[in-house]
Amino acid sequence: MVPRRFSSAFRMNFDLFFQYLVAGITYGSIYAIVAIGFNIIYNATGIINFAQGEFVMLGGMIAISLLEHLPLGYAIAAAVLVTMGIGAVIEILFIRWLKSPSVLQMIIITIGISILLRESALHIWGESIRSLPYFYGNEITTFTLGSVHVSPQVVWVIAACTVMMGGLSAFFKSMPIGREMRACAANRTAASLCGINIRNMVTLSFMLSAGIGALAGCVMSPMTYTQYDSGTSLAIKGFTVAILGGLGNSLAAVAAGILLGIVEAFSVSLVPLAFQDAIAIAILLLILFVRPHGIFGSSEMAHLQDF
């Protein structure tokens, strides 16, 4: 994936290189999941949900709170379900009954929702930084791969992301309701004429998107920690990845997510950590300016989209 001369140019030994690579893939998988969350809602509604990052934060926070009463596995499952419920409620309250809202209206509404979720989190959980425990072992547990030490949580993250991707793909391909959602994405009017209830599909897309966001929030929590405002930067990175892969294209989002994760991981050796978020955003701006249809998308298609 990364050319060899890249490593030698920075006089990086192989182990360090591999460490960065693993970190990049781990974070990249999470960005990909956030991006897919964007894509699911975008495909169903044409809306970019600016509150997507808050779903990730909520998943982590709710799981942490439930951990006092439930074992880890159940706490995570319950957190995902609760977040899905929140997603559904948001859609029903704020979006479902709008008649042909403008893009500007939808941007502002979803930004408002993200503020409400973030501030609610602040009032419920305070400003403290929390995290779920490591799913296996603790922060110093590692297993060795060749000569490299890898945290088992990395495996959890990658495995969870892979399973989610596989599950979603199966859902959209094989399940009748998944196929109905794809029909909605392809042509809303035609889908509606075929008797598909579009409004329910939109609600479902919010639930799905909230659910996978929450799951991502849970698996990443032990490594990245969770705070009431950790959603914003995740949302920007997830959006970067969604654009990089071409809006609505989830398979490309995976590749783009891992790409961004790796670039970000290696950038640590070049710029101070404090500027790391700025790197992802600079990449976002660059893509928007140069190739707004994504590195895998075609410009012909982009002309058809509203941007």
Binding site: I115, S233, L285
Partner: protein, 359 residues
């Protein structure tokens, strides 16, 4: 049209004086500080209002321009240039008589830029950044434009937060007063500072600048270029009428950035400092919320709601729920009154609230 505009401006001037008299009559002089600050924030909001309402371009990065203005003015008037005395830009400023000498709190010699020069440089810098960012950004629409401006705002925030030169999380403090006009005859000098002696003066300066700001914008909207701006919503027809829509958007974008940066400079001198919170995304979102409440194409509504709500927020009326209030305002306005609260027809509003009522 022109008569109505002049009458409205005169009414605003009278309202300003009336506000002062009311405060004197009720003995609530402590409101003056927040009213002064609210006027400066109002300047940002009306500038953004023209960009959003007339040019139809959303910006989620206007706190960035405010911060560029404020931080540059603060840094240039506080950071010691003594070690860089021999550098070419510093020597040029010196030749032009734009440097001021003083002493820091330990009595060491301090060489800084004069507030006027710093103000011009800071606003100019914001204008140039807006120009550079605006060319590619304004080609985007909808979500892409929103994300790009959000990204710009976040980058400014991160840079300020991570740079020692800009004081990291503490920001810049001890920013000197801004002598706007020298003393003439019996009149004392006009100084922008938070000093209690200058409180009434600063109230009038801030509101005077706000009135000037809205007067200029009203001029613009009523002019040939203003008509072009208002036509941007139907871009195809505007282009066919020979209007360079890209250029028009860019001009308004830069103008609104200049408004934000000017407000940033003046408020920083008034407050005696600036912190990274001024550059945060939440601030940008708040400006958008204020424009939305006022009504996108209603400059007076934007002004009234912008100054009013900012004042309440600064007074701490919303308490710990300050951000929640603005988030809720955003949603409620977009759901129930996309044309702004002042354009709301209550009957229609009632119909929408009653399920099964005529929509």
């Amino acid at each position: 049209m022109r008569i109505r505009k002049n009458l409205s401006l005169a009414a605003l001037c009278l309202a300003t004086v009336g506000l002062h008299l009311l405060i004197v009559a009720t003995g609530t002089q402590f409101y003056l500080t927040q009213l002064t600050m609210a006027a400066y924030y109002g300047l940002v909001v009306i500038g953004l209002g023209v960009l959003m309402g007339y040019a139809g371009q959303i910006s989620l990065g206007h706190a960035g321009f405010f911060a560029i203005g404020g931080y540059l003015a603060a840094a240039l008037t506080t950071r010691n240039l003594q070690p860089f005395q021999e550098a070419l830009p510093v020597r040029m400023l010196d030749c032009l008589g734009l440097l001021a000498t003083g002493q820091d709190i330990y009595g060491a010699a301090l060489l800084t830029v004069t507030p006027w020069a710093a103000c011009v440089l800071a606003v100019l810098a914001a204008a140039l950044v807006a120009l550079a960012i605006g060319v590619p950004v304004l080609k985007l629409k909808g979500h892409y434009l929103a994300m790009a401006t959000l990204g710009f705002g976040t980058i400014v925030y991160r840079i300020l937060l991570a740079s020692a030169y800009f004081g990291e999380a503490d920001g810049i403090v001890e920013v000197p007063a801004f002598p706007l006009l020298p003393a003439v005859g019996r009149f004392g000098p006009v100084v922008i500072s938070g000093d209690a002696d200058h409180r009434i003066l600063n109230f009038y300066v801030a509101w005077g600048i706000l009135i000037l700001g809205i007067a200029l914008l009203l001029n613009l909207i009523g002019s040939r270029v203003g008509r072009a701006l208002r036509s941007l919503h139907s871009a195809e027809a505007a282009e066919a009428s020979g209007i360079d829509t890209g250029r028009c958007k860019l001009q308004v974008f830069v103008l609104s950035a200049v408004y934000a940066a000017t407000a940033g400079v003046l408020l920083t001198h008034f407050n005696g400092g600036i912190g990274p919170g001024e550059a945060s995304v939440m601030k940008s979102v708040r400006y958008v919320a204020l424009v939305a409440v006022g009504g996108m194409t209603n400059l007076w509504g934007t002004l009234i709601m912008g100054v009013g709500l900012t004042f309440l927020s600064l007074r701490g009326v919303f308490g710990a729920y300050d951000d929640v209030v603005f988030g809720a305002i955003l949603i409620a306005v977009m759901l129930f009154a996309p044309g702004g609260v002042l354009s709301l027809r209550l009957k229609e509003f009632a119909y929408r609230l009653i399920p099964g009522g005529r929509s």
